[in-house]
């Protein structure tokens, strides 16, 4: 059974065919996933208040039902340090097609991973784990399994990645919290089984993993037609 709030958010999103990012973030936090602190603002003073509450520096992202790929329209700005830069960004976002708001989120650091799902016609929900970021389709360092995953599947997937050494801490970098990553993957696999009748595909990209936690920094949920 889906939580009522989640069903409501999914129903509302149906007309766009996908779930706007703040709603997607909300769905994942409702299910106990860790996300950075965030809020949505439409006006300048509101934005500044949100950013101060979260604490500069922040990241700003366009919210628009017309923009699925935010980076393609320079709809993501990281490292905003003050009100002035924030409001300038907001003014620019306003001119982007379909603007309904600006998502302002805490900046987090870590290793960029992707955790995704695709509802395959023949095999049902498939789970993908790999190295994330904008280059994900260039490097294709990913592993794929049919959901629901066992813990052994999750471990095998991480072991399959070319960049697996980065997870354990490479050349002085801190190892990531593997237990948190495993938990995120397993919870995600369970959630995708619950959502298999409504969801077409999901990208959590990036999921920022560091020594303490794995945070879902960006979530895109595409719905079934």
């Amino acid at each position: 059974m889906l939580k009522k709030d989640v069903s409501d958010l999914l129903r509302k999103s149906k007309k766009w065919g996908w779930v706007l990012e703040p709603d997607a973030q909300r769905i994942f936090s409702l299910y106990g996933f860790e996300t950075p602190k965030y809020d949505v603002a439409v006006h300048g003073d509101q934005a500044a208040a949100v950013a101060r509450r979260i604490g500069y520096p922040v990241v700003a992202k366009i919210v628009s039902p017309a923009i699925v790929h935010k980076s393609d329209v320079q709809g993501v700005v990281v490292g905003i340090r003050d009100d002035q830069a924030l409001i300038q960004t907001l003014e620019r976002f306003r001119r982007i097609d379909g603007f309904v708001g600006m998502l302002i989120a805490e900046m987090v650091r870590g290793l960029e991973l992707i955790i995704g799902s695709k509802n395959d016609l023949q095999f049902g929900p498939m789970i993908l784990v790999g190295m994330g970021g904008v280059g994900v389709e260039i490097y294709k360092d990913v592993a794929l399994r049919m959901a629901p995953l066992t813990l052994r599947d999750a471990d095998n997937m991480l072991g399959e990645l070319t960049a697996r050494k980065l997870l354990a801490g490479y050349r002085g970098s801190e190892p990531i919290n593997l237990a948190a990553l495993r938990k995120t993957i397993m919870d995600f696999s369970r959630l995708m089984m619950d959502l298999k009748d409504v969801v077409e595909s999901v990208d959590l990209n990036p999921v920022m993993c560091n020594a303490t936690s794995c945070l879902i920094v960006d979530a895109r949920i595409m719905l079934k037609k």
Binding site: W18, Q122, D203, M222
Partner: protein, 455 residues
Amino acid sequence: MNLKPLFAPRTMAVVGVSATNGRHPANVIFDKNHHRYPVEVFGVNPRGGRLYDEPLYRRIGDIPKKIDLAVIAARADFVPDLIAECIDAGAKSAAVISGGFTEAGRADLQERMVAIAREARFPVIGPNCLGLFVPFRVDTLFLPIERMIHPNPGGVAFVSQSGGILVDQMIKFTQQGVGMSKAVSIGNKALVREIDLLKYLLSDPDTRVIAFYVEGFAAGEGRRFVLAADCAPKPVILMKSGKSEAGHRAVSSHTASLAGDYASFTAAIAQHHILEAVNELELVSFCEVLSSYTKPIDGRIGIITGSGGHGAMAVDACVAARLSVPEFSESLQERLQAGVSENIRSIASMGNPVDLTGSGVDDDFVACVKAMGASDEIDCIIVLLLPYLPGVTLDIGVRLSHARKPSKKPVIAYVPHVEKYNMMIDGFELNGTPVSSSIEGAVLMAKGLMRKKPC
């Protein structure tokens, strides 16, 4: 659904036999079963008449015996009613050879046929297929008997969506000395599908390895299939076509783009301990090796050869297949050295590959298989045999097969497959040691054993 009558019929009706046209597919099927198989065959034709001085029955119900298998090669329009007739007459199963259904825009006919059969739990193979072949039992392939290659009885069952691939693979299995238990062409797979045959073959005592050629599964069917095959007591092998994505479909998520249809197929079957054969050579090699050996290996390979070049080629193929060829310890090298004939001790190399040179004799190969069999530095042995070497005799196959048995370590041989060397090849194969006709094939056999991951 009880599928047994399909594979072991004692009585068969062939529907559509012509009294005048001996080349009609139904007549070909009638003839071969009538003359060659231990099954009582009855011809059916709505106009009646006689064939070989025996009556052609107008209806299946007119046949004086209960029919185990009805082979239907009549026009598609008649098929749904013929299936109903089979059921009324108490027949136990049918193979519909006729085309002209979904593949020709007549999904309605196929649906009617399925509805009738499903209600009666009546197993139907096809339509639009060649049906089935069981060595020395039954053969519904409408191919003249003198043109067919008949595989020996053995442990491999092969189920194919395509009839052409099935027959071709029967030829390739035969060329490689791989025996078959069942060959099934399922065509449009309207009722009996891969998963039904998987379940049947898992309990079939004649079948040790189950292989499929699949073009695609229906919605959700791939998931049901891999779950049914997971950790099965017999190895399951899939070969798939249609791997390339159709054009550049617009996908709006990274995951959907990275997890295409074929990527998902490959991942899902490997996750559930099913072997994927990416081409025909892998299919034949995996089937052959897994009908001889059932225990998975880590993939540490010891190679014995009579030629340095063969050894080097095999090492390259092993590395490409992610098998390792570890260099032997000094103590193992000493034991190997001590076991071979004195005249080659100074010229043979023992490091792995073990190169016995062109002067090696049968006894040297036997000694090396024994020493490597007793060592835990490797878990599989590939012997590259050059039958034209003067010291190698036709007995080598039998001798190596006996030599490998105490250690239970799998031995795989390469021998060029030409008629002249058949007795040597038989010496291996009839004693349970798989032989490939190429170095690459022998390495693929080892890869098959490694890929068969334990559950």
